[in-house]
């Protein structure tokens, strides 16, 4: 059971440079905060509702893994409690685990199609 935050990728959308720097500073060990597009993030942190809409549609992550935190657009001196809370929540729930390996699903689907034809 994986319950720590090791090797977890959090993509941030719509954050200021200062916010990203601060997020990296307060991120728990093992959590990588990135602001460039990556193939398979575990979580996405966005600043606005429309960014969340786009992120859910484009990433195919379950919507609960795309969090809206308006604070990341403008971070002042210190990160807000809400931001810390979001990261704690992210690390508490953990990285996304693929339910079934895509290759195995494709292979099994091939076999199932053959079985269905044979029916």
């Amino acid at each position: 059971m994986r319950l720590d935050a090791s090797d977890m990728l959090v993509r941030v959308v719509g954050a200021s440079r200062d916010a990203i720097r601060q997020l990296r500073a307060i991120a728990p060990a093992g959590m990588d905060v990135v602001d460039e597009p990556i193939a398979e993030p575990d979580w996405i942190l966005v600043a606005t509702a429309s960014q969340r809409l786009d992120a859910v549609a484009s990433s195919r992550l379950p919507p609960f893994r795309v969090l809206e935190a308006p604070e990341i657009a403008e971070v002042n001196q210190s990160p807000s409690d809400a931001l810390r809370t979001a990261l704690v929540r992210i690390s508490g729930i953990g990285a996304r685990r693929l339910r079934e390996a895509p290759f195995a699903v494709r292979l099994t689907a091939l076999i199932i199609r053959r079985l269905m034809k044979a029916q």
């Binding site: 059971m1 319950l3 919507p63 699903v105």
Partner: protein, 493 residues
Amino acid sequence: MKILIVAQRVDFSRNLDSVMRELCGRGHEIVFLHGTRSDMWPGRLKAAPTSRVSEDIAGVSSGYRPEPDEPWQMRLRVGRQVINRGVYMRRRHPSPERVVAGLERNLPDDLRLKIRTPVWRLALGTRAALRLWRLIEAASPASETLLRLLRDVDPDLMVVSPAIGHEDPVEADYLHAARTLGIPTLGLINSWNDLTSKGTLHLVPDLCVVWNEAMAVEAVEIHDVPADVVRISGAPHLDAVFSTRPRKDRAGMWTSMGCRGPGHDRPYVLFLCSSRAVWENETHLVTSVAAALRREFGDEGPALVVRPHSSNVAAFDDYRHPRVVVYPRGAEHTDPSESWQDYVDQLANALCVVGLNTTAFLDAAVADRPCLTIVSDVYWPAQGRTGHFRHLLKGDFLTICSSASEVAGNVRRVLDGLDDRSEGRRGFARWFLRPCGLDTPAGHVVADIIESAARPRAGVTAIHREGRPLVPGLTLAWEGTTGRRPGRDGFGR
């Protein structure tokens, strides 16, 4: 947003009542589909069905849940029954003998014989079997019938309730169809015995909502649900027990039970019957308890009132005993929502409650009535061999008696004002029924989780808060088999 709820039976709308009311109160729309055709519903509960779901709560529409009838889906359904049975073959299953006959009954004869062979037992009892089955489910084509339905409804999230089906399981068909269309899915575990006496999750939904930590561990360890999808909400169907206040005093309750005149304001012990699956007929036990009360108190002692289980009223239809009142009898078991207040009044006015292994113990804990049970060689099969009874034992609020005479002795202690399990009842409510806070209705927590998991739409932002994830470090062994008690906060901390 629009939420589709797919339920096994129409009466499960009661379990979700507080969830649906909260969601509709927040402005969401609900489509409630269930698997109960009007001709399947028992005559005595004809007042309960479909119409009530939509009439009671503005914003809810309801209807029958179609079942996929494509040949491949029918085959999958047979396979799911085998996998359901396989889960009980695991070495550390807390109730390996439970419901086995029921699960096997639905299998074709040749398959039933096959899975009893050592090789099949060994294979089905492994985690690999469930992993492989989930792969087959994920790789199978989704049901066209359900894809059409989901495209028509176009929900922002689909709730499957309960996520575990053991009779003709079609839950995975719905989950797979929703997944194919990119609709977020949420599996709700309806009751405290679903994870130890029903089937398993043939596909893992995006989120799996359970009542408490103990059930979260069962989901992870028995059903291989990844911990990161488990959320803890409390028990939504007990929100009504928490919020309903008694209206009658004891004399008023006696009148409701059809007893008037001298002597009908005296204390009564409430015998709460168990479901048929636990014990077919409890009339002998009731007679024994009535006799023991008479021996202990003579003619002036507390009366014995029996409340038959709503799914097994027939056992007491013809039961007559001069010192026992049966209420409500079969015909009086009307629509449960209408008699709810009556039930709360009956509980609240009871001196204490007695039973074997029943969900009504949860209600009694909330109503803060002392709870007595009989554990003996005779009844242990219906208790110790069920996974959920150990939750009651761990809750440490039951007074365990070995015989009807000991029950009568403990009734005297209660009558004398000795109630040493009251803290246990409160602890149980905090730990098992409302782990997100005694003042936080579980229905609200589930509504929060639904909002956080739903597909977002333009112009709508609706994340409030989430149910707690599984607390790290808990194991199934710790939960029941080591004999350790929970800590003061109920979580061993």
